[in-house]
Every structure is written in structure tokens, then in C-alpha cells.
Point group: C2
């Protein structure tokens, strides 16, 4: 197995009711790699940064086994920057600043060593960029997963639909599923979206967990109820990263394998929200993962032998 | 075992995006009894109606094994009436009319045969009325469960807190848990609320499922994702009724027994929302319950032997 990831590497300024973090490292690619590397160590990242990006943040990822040969560094340019502010309920946020910088005219060029991944996660990016990555591969990976967002549905729906045809697993949130399908009911939305290409659909519902639709099957994984959600930034990417990292580790794409991967995605996401940025993901170890996994087991486990 | 239920018996006029139902039978007591009687047949209802209430609706409950000796019929008065309209998302609604009628000066008088229940469910009612029921019992039931709502927190918090001290299981929704505790985090809310009396706290989250807090344990039951939610009226009461009906059937108040009861509450609620009022609950049989329980099993079931 090897896992290829497309995702942004960025600076974020985040304001929550608990405080403010200025220009910390972020971006979907960052969260995905920190999360996936909890499970699996042959990860290759495709992204782009400016020359303002701190080398130690890159070194930390390399030390986790993440190959950064595909991260283009543009001299004289600035990294992608996002600033946002969360409302009191932590469920909604306002974007204050979006500076595309190096993303504005990014066109990924994959190193030769990147062209035969067995698993691919196309993080949220312009669909045309996602397609460029797909088109440079020597063979179709065993599993292709993709994230996207409302913004691309608004301005690049045709491109998005082309990528969707190539995708096995689509990982989006409930609002995005509703916009993509035009259906409020997630069950109806899931049927329509899977007709667009993906066999598997994962619908993330934030603090309300996530659903997996596959064939006639539906599976639900809760989010862990937490004392405090400190910063939700990156939780969805962390979820996707954990999901794909676990699948890359096991290679098990059966329904049960997918269910397990979903639980581990939710386990990883439960750590992400406990501190600003990816900080908590950087400090946890296998024992932390184990004990939290046991909490998920208790949260979900019930025996129902005595069905009425 | 025997299950004593306090709950309103009412007329409802319900408007949803799918249509309108005029003056159909409703009320928490109605939903609770239709749901609990899927599991258990020694149920006694305490309530009050006017002489406008249809005898066949009462006979249908009696035929399910629900004892109505404690339902006071006031000649010359009208039954409680509520009218509401759901918004397009079916998650929020406006109350259009509330006519208390017989509820205005209700003071329950329990028949002798009602005074030794092993289980008690105090449906949403003025806390003073809930206390009157508790005070008429010859002995404390094995398990006392209670529902309430924001309205009573606004106007009768002192009374409510007195009842809470007598209660084993509180069943409320997330918004109510937040108001009662003054905490946004449901984990923090759960801790504070359990300090008020209830050992068990069930927090209903509508289409997002429900949480059980007990000791250091947290359990989550999802709601079944449905093609269409036709009418959510009474879903919470149906959930509570299924929960208590199952507990009355098994007498098993262990953590696992409670978890199972929560699943069956969610199974029952998944039927309730499929038609106007309690209509769907009236037509389902044991086979329907069984096959939906299997859907819940698939929705929740995952094996995680290979913990990372």
C-alpha cells in the first residue's frame, strides 16, 4: 500500500470563544497527513507552499513518514492564508480572510515516485486540480476518495461531476450533500450522489457524527461527546485522514473495513478539536488512540439478542 | 412489573410541508402509550380529557392493554388542543394555537389500582402535577423517569427541581438540557443535571439520535436515517414510551438494559415520524419492529478487535 494525498498546506488565523491563534500551520493536507500518519507511514503529499512556510513544520511531517517531494515550494511567493472566527456555538464560523497566494495558479506535477499509489485521497481543492492529479497516475489506485465543498459546486460543477465519476468514496458534509443533490433528506441525497459515481458516500455531520452509505447498507459513527470543543478547524480533514490512513494500513475495503475506518476517523477527529490547529494531533500516541477507541466502543456497543 | 404513565391526551392540528391534519388525536400520553404498548401490556395512564374526545380512540388504547381508569373525563369541558406548523427542514416548528382547556385546573386523583406501579413515566406536564402523582403512590417505584420542557424551566424552576430530586431518569432534548444546566457542552450539562437528582440522563437530539449518561458511561443511539420525515410530532414521546415500555418488559435497569431500551425507543420513534400523529404506531406489528431493529443493528454494528 501507499497513500497519496492532495491537500492544501497553509497558514490559518483562528478565533474561537477560547482565544485566538495567529498564523498557525493548517490546511487540509496538513490535517490529513497528521491524522493518517497515526495509522500508516507510507504517505505522499501533493501541495504547494511559499517560501514563508516554516521548515520545522515540514520536518515534523517528514519525521512522521510523510514524503513531501510533491510539495512545490515557490520562491518569492506566499503560502495560502485563511482567517476565520467561530461563533459561540462552535458550529458555525465566518471566514474573515482568504488569500489564495500560491494556490492561485497551482498546477501539480507529480514526482515519478508518486505515480503508483494504491490509495488516493483528493482533499478539498479545485476539481480541475484534483483531475490533474488523477490524470498523472500510471494506473488507477485501488481506492480513490475525494473531499470537496459548496464553493466548487457553485463555480465548477461540471468539473466536479467529471471527477466524481472517477471516485470510489466521496467524503462531504451534510450541507454539501444537500447542495450537490438538491435533496434535503440525506437518504435521498445519498442515492442521487452515488448515481454520480462514488460507490461509497460518507456524510459528515460535525458534532453529530457521520454516515456511510454503501449499496443498501447504512452505517453511523457518532462523534465523541466532549467537555469542550476548543477549535473545530480541520476536524473534517482529520476525519478523512484517519479514515484513509486506517484503510491504507489494513487494505480492507470491505463494508466492515470501511465501518472500522470510519470509527478511527472519528477517533482522530475527537483529538483534533481539543487544541488549536493540529497541535493535539502532534502530541498523541498509540496509547491515547487506544484508550479513546475504547471510549468509542462503549459509546456504540449494545447487544440486542433479545429482539422483540 | 406495571408501568404508570402521566401524559396529556389531546387534539392536535399539524401542518407540515406534506399536508395538514386537523384535530387528530395526540398528546404525550397518547404517543407514550401507543409506543410502550409495542413492548408491554400492563400500562396505566393518568390524564384528563373533555367530553369531546372520541370514544373509539380510547377503546383502541384499551384494546392495547392500556388501563384508562385514571383518565378523568370532564363533562362540559374541552380537551387540550395544540396546533403547530413545521418549517421546511422539519426540525423547527411554530406553535399556532395552545388551548389548555381541561388542563387549566387539572389535579390528578389516582385510582387505588394505580398506586403501586413498579415503573413510572412522568410525561411533560407542570412539575406540580408530576409531584402530585408521585405523592399519591404507596411506595417509590423501582424506576421513575421524567420528561419536561423549557416552558417549565421558565415559569416553575423551583417546582421542577423538587421533582428532579425524586427522579432516576430524566429524558429531555439538547436545548432543554442546555437551558436547565446553563451549559452549552452536553457533557458539562449532563454532569450538572445529574447533580440535581437523576442518576440517568437521556438527551434527545431529534434526527441526530440520543445520548445516555450514567456514571462515567456515555452511550449513543442514532436515529434511523429516513427517506422522508412526514411528521415529527410525538417522536420524543414515542422514544420515551418505547424506552420505558422495553424496561417494563425486561425489568433490566442495568447499563446494558438501559442501552437496549434506548435503541428500542429509537426504533419506535423511527415509525412515529412516518405518518401524521400516532397513525403509524397503530398499524405496525412485531415483524415491523423486528425488521427495523435489524436495520438499527446494521447502522450501529462494528467490530474493532484490531485496535491500533
Amino acid at each position: 500500500m501507499s497513500l497519496l494525498v492532495l491537500g492544501t498546506v497553509a497558514f490559518d488565523t483562528i478565533e474561537t470563544p477560547f482565544g485566538k491563534a495567529e498564523r498557525i500551520i493548517g490546511g487540509a493536507g496538513t490535517y490529513i497527513c497528521w491524522s493518517a500518519s497515526q495509522f500508516y507511514n507510507d504517505i505522499k503529499l501533493v501541495s504547494v507552499i511559499g517560501d514563508d512556510y516554516p521548515q520545522d513544520a515540514l520536518d515534523a511531517l517528514t519525521a512522521r513518514g510523510v514524503n513531501l517531494d510533491g510539495v512545490e515550494k515557490r520562491v518569492g511567493e506566499k503560502s495560502f492564508f485563511w482567517a476565520g472566527k467561530y461563533h459561540l456555538d462552535m458550529n458555525s464560523r465566518d471566514t474573515l480572510v482568504t488569500e489564495l497566494n500560491v494556490l492561485a495558479n497551482f498546477s501539480p506535477k507529480l514526482p515519478e515516485s508518486y505515480k503508483n499509489p494504491e490509495m488516493l485521497l483528493l482533499g478539498n481543492f479545485a476539481p480541475a486540480i484534483q483531475m490533474q492529479v488523477l490524470n498523472q497516475l500510471n494506473a488507477r489506485p485501488k481506492l480513490v476518495a475525494m473531499d470537496t465543498m459548496n464553493f466548487w459546486m457553485d463555480i465548477a460543477m461540471d468539473d466536479l461531476k467529471k471527477v466524481l465519476k472517477q471516485v470510489d468514496v466521496l467524503i462531504i458534509n451534510d450541507e454539501e450533500a444537500r447542495q450537490l443533490s438538491g435533496q434535503y433528506s440525506l437518504v435521498k441525497a445519498a442515492r442521487l450522489i452515488r448515481e454520480m459515481g462514488p460507490k461509497y458516500l460518507v456524510i459528515k455531520k460535525g458534532e453529530h457524527g457521520a454516515l456511510l452509505f454503501y449499496g443498501v447498507h447504512v452505517f453511523f459513527v457518532p462523534a465523541l461527546p466532549l467537555e469542550e470543543v476548543f477549535d473545530p478547524t480541520g476536524a473534517g480533514d482529520t476525519f478523512a485522514g484517519g479514515f484513509m490512513g486506517y484503510l491504507a494500513k489494513t487494505g480492507d475495503c470491505s463494508l466492515n473495513g470501511m465501518k472500522r475506518a470510519l470509527v478511527y476517523g472519528s477517533v482522530a477527529a475527537s483529538f483534533c478539536v481539543e487544541a488549536f490547529g493540529p497541535n493535539r494531533l502532534k502530541e498523541i500516541n498509540k496509547d491515547d488512540m487506544k484508550s479513546r477507541t475504547l471510549q468509542f466502543l462503549e459509546l456504540m456497543e449494545v447487544t440486542l439478542e433479545d429482539i422483540v
